[in-house]
């Protein structure tokens, strides 16, 4: 009970800190500007292709075109790239700043478990990420309002669930890299490199042997996102993301504990 309260207290302070500094506003604005531009571009493209096939009177092709596949899925992919760049900036301060300001000495001499500290900070990052996602809800809303036929609700929700898991994994990595150093830039760079590596780790899969290739493919974060983006929720992918997050949080806890040994 005390542990849970501690988590909320720490998360609350952390979130407050995001919103009294310019970080929150810069990141939220940047994210909305970029995703808005992607959405606009995808819609224009969709429109152009529709018009083209209409001119050619290709009813068969027109029947197969839909907003889910041609706008929502690519939009979600574009968002993953933007997140790849922005998440390190959200998470870099979480532990690094505490060390720089020596406030870690307060947290670690308070009757609060390291687990609560780690989970509190993770929760703060997660809530911030959810706010980012909530802002993008305007794009599907526009499509529901003006699309005919409107897109499928179910597959959009599945796509968002995938994006949530992906972002939650990113934040867990960022939390860990922030615990490694007191330099925020270093934390952000290591986070970005790690995330990008997990993005592309599956690329040589095809040219490698079956076992090694399969393994690399399995490790790739984006590989597990693909099904979600198409509207499929597969428990294998959920398990992957959850284990990825739990493992990252576990090594973060270890890293924070060892800060005192170093």
């Amino acid at each position: 009970m005390k542990g849970l309260q501690d988590i909320f207290h720490i998360a609350g302070r952390e979130l407050r800190s995001y919103f009294v500094s310019p970080i929150a506003y810069v990141v939220l604005t940047g994210f909305t500007v970029l995703t808005g531009w992607f959405f606009f571009n995808l819609l224009m493209q969709f429109n152009r292709i529709m018009n083209m096939y209409q001119m050619f009177r290709r009813q068969d092709v027109l029947m197969q075109m839909n907003l889910n596949e041609m706008v929502m899925t690519p939009l979600l992919y574009n968002m993953t790239i933007v997140l790849l760049l922005l998440v390190p900036l959200i998470t870099m301060r979480l532990f690094a700043e505490e060390k720089k300001l020596k406030t870690d000495e307060l947290l670690l001499t308070s009757p609060v478990s390291v687990t609560s500290v780690v989970l509190g900070k993770y929760l703060a990052g997660l809530v911030f990420f959810l706010i980012m996602l909530a802002l993008t809800a305007v794009y599907p809303l526009v499509m529901f309002q003006y699309g005919s036929p409107p897109p499928e609700m179910g597959s959009i929700l599945a796509g968002y669930l995938g994006l949530f898991f992906l972002g939650a994994s990113f934040i867990a990595v960022g939390l860990f890299t922030s615990s490694l150093t007191e330099n925020q830039i270093v934390a952000a760079v290591i986070c970005f490199v790690t995330l990008l590596l997990f993005f592309v780790v599956g690329w040589p899969a095809e040219s490698m042997g079956t076992t090694a290739g399969k393994l690399l493919e399995y490790l790739s974060l984006i590989e597990h996102f693909t099904d979600f983006s198409k509207g499929l929720i597969d428990s294998r992918h959920v398990v992957y993301f959850l284990s990825f997050i739990l493992f990252s949080l576990f090594i973060t806890k270890r890293s924070v504990e060892s800060m005192r040994w170093r």
Binding site: K2, Q5, D6, H9, I10, R13, R16, S17, V20, S21, L101, K102, T103, D104, E105, L106, L107, L108, T109, S110, P111, V112, S113, R260, W261
Partner: protein, 237 residues
């Protein structure tokens, strides 16, 4: 109240503390004296559970720091060398946060905040951002932070450093007024301060205790300066 037995702390090959043992009884005010790098801060960090000991046992209020860290931390107020303050919070917000994580129950929180704001002279800056405060005020906020959960044991690492003479006197008064109900360990470089506040002195030199006695017994008519210099002059083998 505090029992330290055969405490050793090593960082890799470097030995910061070499076999320290001492006891502090309830209500005592004890000063840690010693040259820079003697191991004062390290000892304090082990007592507060911030650093784990390499060897030896540390008990605070009957709880072992290693086995029951949370029980110990509940009972200790700690002011580190650098006050651990968040610059983007106001004094009140910060102290409220500390009260929460130190486990001050919701019902008693307002009163606890009121008490430390009063005692540490922070009334005028309650709603000021900590980042905008002078060093002296930051130090007071650090002290308020250590006292907010009314701990039985206070550990203060150079509480008067960086303060002006008036503030130093205020902090001394404050520490003295805490005597009796609280057990206090403080470290300092100002020797007169020790004679004014403390009953007992521990001189630490190169990771060992070279003197542990009341001020009267130690000095015996001599000045504390000469006693300090005598004990910290030679290399300890």
């Amino acid at each position: 109240m505090i029992e330290v037995e055969g405490l050793v702390k090593r960082y890799g090959d470097f030995t910061a503390i070499e076999d320290i043992s001492f006891r502090v009884e309830k209500g005592e005010i004890v000063a840690f004296l010693g040259p820079n790098g003697a191991g004062k801060t390290t000892t304090m960090r082990v007592l507060t559970g911030f650093l784990p000991a390499t060897e030896g046992t540390v008990k605070v209020c009957g709880f072992d720091v290693f086995d029951k860290p949370l029980e110990v931390k509940k009972r200790i107020g700690y002011l580190p060398e650098h006050p651990p303050v968040y610059h983007d919070m106001t004094v009140l917000e910060y102290l409220r946060f500390v009260a929460k994580i130190k486990g001050v129950p919701r019902a008693g929180r307002a009163a606890a905040l009121e008490r430390v704001l009063q005692r540490c002279g922070l009334r005028d800056v309650t709603h000021t951002l900590i980042g905008k405060l002078s060093k002296g005020y930051k130090q007071r906020v650090g002290l308020a932070q250590a006292m907010v959960h009314d701990p039985q044991v206070l550990i203060l690492d150079e509480p008067t450093i960086g303060l002006d003479p008036k503030q130093i006197i205020e902090i001394r008064e404050l520490v003295r007024s805490l005597a009796g109900e609280h057990t206090i360990i403080l470290s300092t470089h100002i020797l007169q301060e020790v004679t004014m506040i403390c009953q007992r002195v521990l001189i630490i030199h190169q990771g060992r205790i070279v003197a542990d006695d009341t001020i009267e017994n130690l000095t015996g008519g001599d000045s504390l300066e000469s006693v300090f210099l005598k004990h910290t002059r030679e290399e300890v083998q």
